[in-house]
Symmetry: C2
DNA sequence: TTGAAAGCGCTACCAC
DNA sequence: GTGGTAGCGCTTTCAA
C-alpha cells in the first residue's frame, strides 16, 4: 500500500513483465489470464497502492458507475439545504446507492434554474438521475423524460405525467389526517402550505376530499407561506392569528410547517390541542419530539429510497418502469387531542 | 435545447464549419477565436443541447472539478445514515461546494473499512477530499495525509496530528457545560458517550477538567453506549437507571445521545430537570424542540462547512494550511434547571 | 486566427 | 493466453 503517487496501469504492467492488456484483464478478474499471473498482478497492484483511474475507465466504458441525486431547492430562495425531510431522504439514498456499488453525485439546484436537467444529462457525469421533489420543475421533468430514460423522481404522481415517480399516497394520507380532525369535532380547519407545489397540491386535494365526505365546506382559504421553510410558515401562521383569523385546527402540509405553526400558536397564547389541534405530514424525527408530540402522516422514506434506486436500475437495463405510490399512514399523537 | 442524444464536439464543429479545436476554444471563451464565431458556436451548441462531456474533459485536464465527501460510519455497524448532525453538516457542505462551482461526490464508508482512503485517493474521482468525523479512522487519516495534501477532516484536533482538521473547541465547550451543572449544585454527573472516538474523548477531557477546577472528583465512571446511535444511548441510560445508579445530572456527548437519555430518564419516572439535569453537545435542531428544551453546546456547522471547503481549496493551490478550532458556545435551556 | 495531431489512461478487438 | 493497436471525447501544443 506504499502508494507511489500517479502509478498507472502501464507501470504495473512493466513491473509485472506483462502488457497493460493483461493487467487490465487480471484486475477485471478475467478467466483468460492464468490464476497465478492474476494473483501476482493483484498483489503487485495492492503493494503499490494502484487503483484503476476512474475517469479513464469511465471514458472508455461510456459509463460512470455513478448516480446523480439532484435537489431542486424551489422558488426564488437560496436557503441552505437543511430541510430535515430532504436530509433524511438523502441519507437513505446514500445508503442504498453505496450498497449497490455505485457512487453518488450530489447536485443542489439553485435558482435561476435554467436547463439544469438537460445539462446534467448531457454532461455524462452519471449513468442515471434521481430528482428529489418536483418543486417547480414539473415542466422540466416532462421535457427531459421524453428523451432520457434513466430518470426517477420523488414526488407526487400527477395525472398524465410521463416521468416515473415514487411517492406516498398524498391524497389518501391527507384525507385521513383531515377526517381525523373532523371526527374530533374540529370545525374550522386551516390548510397551511402552497398547493402550487405538486405534492402539496395533492395534499390540499385530500383536505378538500375529507370535507366533502363529511358534507362540509372548507370554510377557509388555504394559508400560503412564501416558501416551504420553517420561518415562512411561522410568519404566515403568526400573521393569520394576528389578523384574528378564527380556527380550531391546522393541517400543515409538511412537518416542518406544522411544527412551526405549533410554535407560533403557542407563542400567541393558544393551547394545543385544547384550543387548536395541529396535524402535519412526513413523520420526520422532529414530529415525535415536538411539544406536544405531533400527529402526522408517516411516509416510509427508507422504502422510498429503495424504490427510487431499484426503479432507476431497472431503467438502466431498459425497462420502462411505472410510477410507485406507497401507502401513507396516519400517526396519532397528542397535538390533535 | 433540442437535445439530440450523444452530440459531441466534433458534431458541433461540423455543423459550424470549423474544427473541434475552434469549438473547444470558443466554448472555453478563448479570446483567440473571433467574437462573432464564438457567439455562433455558443448558439449552435445551445440549440443542440450540447454540453461538454465531463469525463473526457476530466481525463484530458487531469482534474475533475469535484470534491469527495466521505462519511465513515464508525464501528461495526451498518446503521443507516440518518444522524441529524451529519445530515446538517452535509447540507451546508453541499451548499458551499455547489456555490464554488464544484461537484460533490458523496461516499459513505461502511465497515469493514480497509484501504478506503488510499483507494478513494487513487481512483482520481475527485480533486480533494473532505472527511466528516474521524470515527475510528485516525490512523488511516495520518497515513494518507503524509502523501496526499488536498485532505481536510471535520473532527477533534489531537496532539501531534499531521492532517488538517476543522472542529469546535470540544474541551472548552464541554468544560463550560459541566461547570454550568456544577454551579447549579449537581453532585453526581454522569458522562454518556464513548471517549475512544477522538471528538468524544476531548469532551470527556473537558468533563474531567471542570471537575478538577471545582476541586471535585468525577464520582462516576463514564457510561459507554455501544455506538453513537439514539437506540444505544437510550438502552445504556435505561440499564444504568435499572441498576440503580445514583446520579443527578447527565452530560451527553452529543445531542442525539442527550435527547435519548432524556427520554429514558422520563420513562423511568424521573423529573427533568428537577431530579436529573441533562446537557448535550452540538445544538442540532432537535435540541431546542426536545421536551424540555435541551441545554447544549452550540457548534456553528455553517461556518464549519465554509472553513472546510475554504481550507481544501487553499490546499488545492499548494498551501499547507493549519487546523482550525472554532469556539463552542454554551446554550442554556430548560433541561439543566 | 485556425486546424492537424498527439495524448490523457483505460478496455476490447484482433491477431498470434 | 497474451500483446499490439485503436479509440472513448476532449484540450493544447505546434505549425501554418
Amino acid at each position: 500500500m506504499n502508494s507511489r503517487p500517479g502509478a498507472k496501469m502501464a507501470d504495473i504492467a512493466r513491473l509485472a513483465g506483462v502488457s497493460a492488456s493483461t493487467v487490465s484483464r487480471a484486475l477485471a478478474g478475467s478467466p483468460l489470464v492464468t490464476a497465478l499471473k492474476r494473483e501476482q498482478i493483484h498483489r503487485l497492484a495492492h503493494e503499490r497502492g494502484y487503483v484503476i483511474n476512474a475517469t479513464a475507465r469511465n471514458l472508455r466504458l461510456q459509463r460512470t458507475q455513478t448516480l446523480s441525486v439532484a435537489i431542486p431547492s424551489g422558488h426564488a430562495t437560496s436557503q441552505p439545504l437543511t430541510d430535515p425531510f430532504l436530509m433524511e431522504m438523502l441519507g437513505h439514498l446514500a445508503d442504498t446507492i453505496t450498497q449497490r456499488g455505485y457512487g453518488m453525485f450530489l447536485q443542489k439546484v439553485v435558482p435561476p434554474m435554467v436547463d439544469w436537467l438537460p445539462q446534467l444529462i448531457a454532461s455524462h457525469r452519471s449513468d442515471g438521475i434521481i430528482v428529489i421533489g418536483q418543486s417547480t420543475e414539473h415542466a422540466a421533468l416532462e421535457a427531459a423524460a421524453a428523451r432520457y430514460k434513466p430518470l426517477v423522481v420523488w414526488g407526487g404522481h400527477l395525472a398524465r405525467q410521463s416521468y416515473c415517480t415514487v411517492g406516498s399516497d398524498n391524497v389518501g394520507g391527507a384525507t385521513a389526517a383531515v377526517a381525523h380532525l373532523i371526527r374530533a369535532g374540529r370545525q374550522r380547519i386551516v390548510f397551511l402550505g402552497d398547493p402550487a407545489v405538486p405534492e402539496i397540491g395533492l395534499r390540499y386535494h385530500g383536505y378538500q376530499l375529507a370535507h366533502e365526505c363529511a358534507a362540509r365546506q372548507p370554510v377557509l382559504p388555504p394559508i400560503i407561506p412564501t416558501h416551504l421553510t420553517a420561518d415562512a410558515a411561522h410568519e404566515a401562521m403568526r400573521a393569520f392569528i394576528a389578523a384574528s383569523g378564527s380556527f380550531d385546527a391546522v393541517f400543515g402540509a409538511t412537518d416542518v410547517i406544522a411544527v412551526s405553526a405549533l410554535r407560533a400558536i403557542s407563542a400567541a397564547g393558544l393551547a394545543v390541542p385544547r384550543e387548536v389541534a395541529v396535524v402535519g405530514f412526513d413523520d420526520i424525527a422532529l414530529a415525535s419530539h415536538a411539544n406536544p408530540p405531533l400527529t402526522t402522516v408517516r411516509q416510509d422514506l427508507q422504502r422510498g429510497a429503495h424504490e427510487l434506486v431499484d426503479l432507476l436500475f431497472r431503467r438502466l437495463e431498459g425497462e420502462d418502469t411505472p410510477s410507485v405510490v406507497m401507502p401513507a399512514e396516519l400517526v396519532v399523537r397528542e397535538s390533535s387531542g
